[in-house]
Amino acid sequence: MKGLFEHIGIEPGRLQFSWISSAEATKFVEVARAVAKEVKALGPAGHLIKRRAEVA
């Protein structure tokens, strides 16, 4: 999944996967923080976004 997304030009880091058990609250916080930080650094997403038609 990640492979093809990055192959077509989605920035590495934009798409992330993790496996967190319901008992792993600490891991959840860590992963969420790390993902948010990485994605913020990449800036707003520019690809695969559908904009509403602009009506004059």
């Binding site: 492979g3 093809l4 990055e6 030009g9 989605i10 695969l48």
Partner: protein
């Protein structure tokens, strides 16, 4: 050689139908347009002379096997036989329903490349002889070497001989050695993300969302395709670039670990889009990460079908 194949296919089909070994025989017949052979389903042994074989049999016959309950004779070259195996593994047909007539294959002709070579003049006839072929039209006749006009997938094919068959129509052909099957994918892998995006955006720019690629693909046998569903509507039906990209991405993912690179999708695209660039990346990943090539064996479940403790999982944090 091609005429020889045709004769043998006809003979085999006639015998199978007459002996009642199969209810239907699936092969190719000459198309109404040159270089466009069509699939044909034959039930009457007197009609076997319709059957034909040359290097314009690029459609995948496996499409006609899905869900059949009768006994079927079918011709199969390397890639088609791998799709038959995939069909059996995915419970779309049973092995004992099938009589597979194996055809060693030296590749199909890229009709677009030939069309370009004759400057888009209308080709009315094509004849093959040895390693070459001659095309004829109004006021022209040109001969080409087949190896220079192979379909993209055939040029890098390493499974020309059928993997599963009940009888072979001829001696196996030599497999191609040393082909760089994934050189094109590697080239893209080396690009920066922005360039990659540009490449794929331009690649599908012309897509008119006719879904011919899906229809020609033997892997696409869902009763309702995700693109045709409206509740929920997974993907927009417009030709908005994001919708089109979503379609191509998802189509490719549905073929992950299943695609045999038969090239039918590209062959049928009315816009000449090279959508194999999507599936080839997944084929390459299947090979690199799971040592898997689709349809080579009936004895192993596909990688996305089974869990192994040592499965690749570096992408999970």
């Amino acid at each position: 050689m091609m005429l020889e194949y045709t004769e043998k296919i006809r003979k085999t089909a006639k015998k199978l139908l007459e002996d009642g070994k199969v209810d239907v025989f699936i092969g190719y017949k000459k198309g109404s347009v040159a270089m466009m052979n069509e699939p044909v389903l034959i039930t009457n042994p007197d009609h076997v002379d319709l059957l034909y074989w040359d290097s314009n049999c690029g459609l995948n016959l496996c499409n006609y096997l899905t869900g059949r309950t009768d006994r079927v004779g079918i011709v199969a070259n390397g890639c088609n036989s791998r799709n038959i195996v995939t069909h059996i593994v995915e419970n779309q047909i049973k092995r004992d329903q099938l009589y597979i007539v194996g055809i060693p294959c030296k590749g199909m002709i890229d009709h677009r490349a030939v069309q370009r070579a004759v400057k888009q003049r209308e080709i009315l006839e094509i004849n093959e002889e040895g390693d070459g072929f001659t095309v004829k039209g109004m006021g022209f006749e040109e001969t080409f070497e087949k190896k220079n006009y192979l379909q993209g997938n055939c040029a890098v094919c390493t499974h020309r001989n059928p993997v599963e068959y009940d009888e072979m129509i001829a001696e196996p052909v030599e497999e191609q050695e040393g082909v760089e099957a994934y050189r094109d994918v590697e080239k893209i892998e080396e690009m920066e993300p922005g360039k990659k995006w540009g490449f794929f955006t331009r690649l599908i720019e012309r897509c008119i969302r006719c879904y011919a690629c899906r229809n020609a693909c033997p892997l696409c046998y869902c009763p309702t395709c995700f693109v045709d569903e409206s509740q929920p509507q997974w993907v927009g039906k417009s030709s908005d670039p994001t919708d089109t990209m979503t379609f191509h991405l998802l189509r490719a993912y549905h073929c992950a670990g299943r695609c045999t690179d038969c090239g039918a999708c590209e062959r049928v695209c009315p816009m000449g889009i090279s959508m194999r660039q999507f599936t080839k990346k997944l084929n390459k990943d299947s090979l690199d990460l799971f040592s898997w090539e689709a349809g080579l064996t009936l004895d192993q479940r596909p990688p996305l079908d089974v869990y192994r403790p040592d499965d690749y999982n570096d992408f999970i944090k």
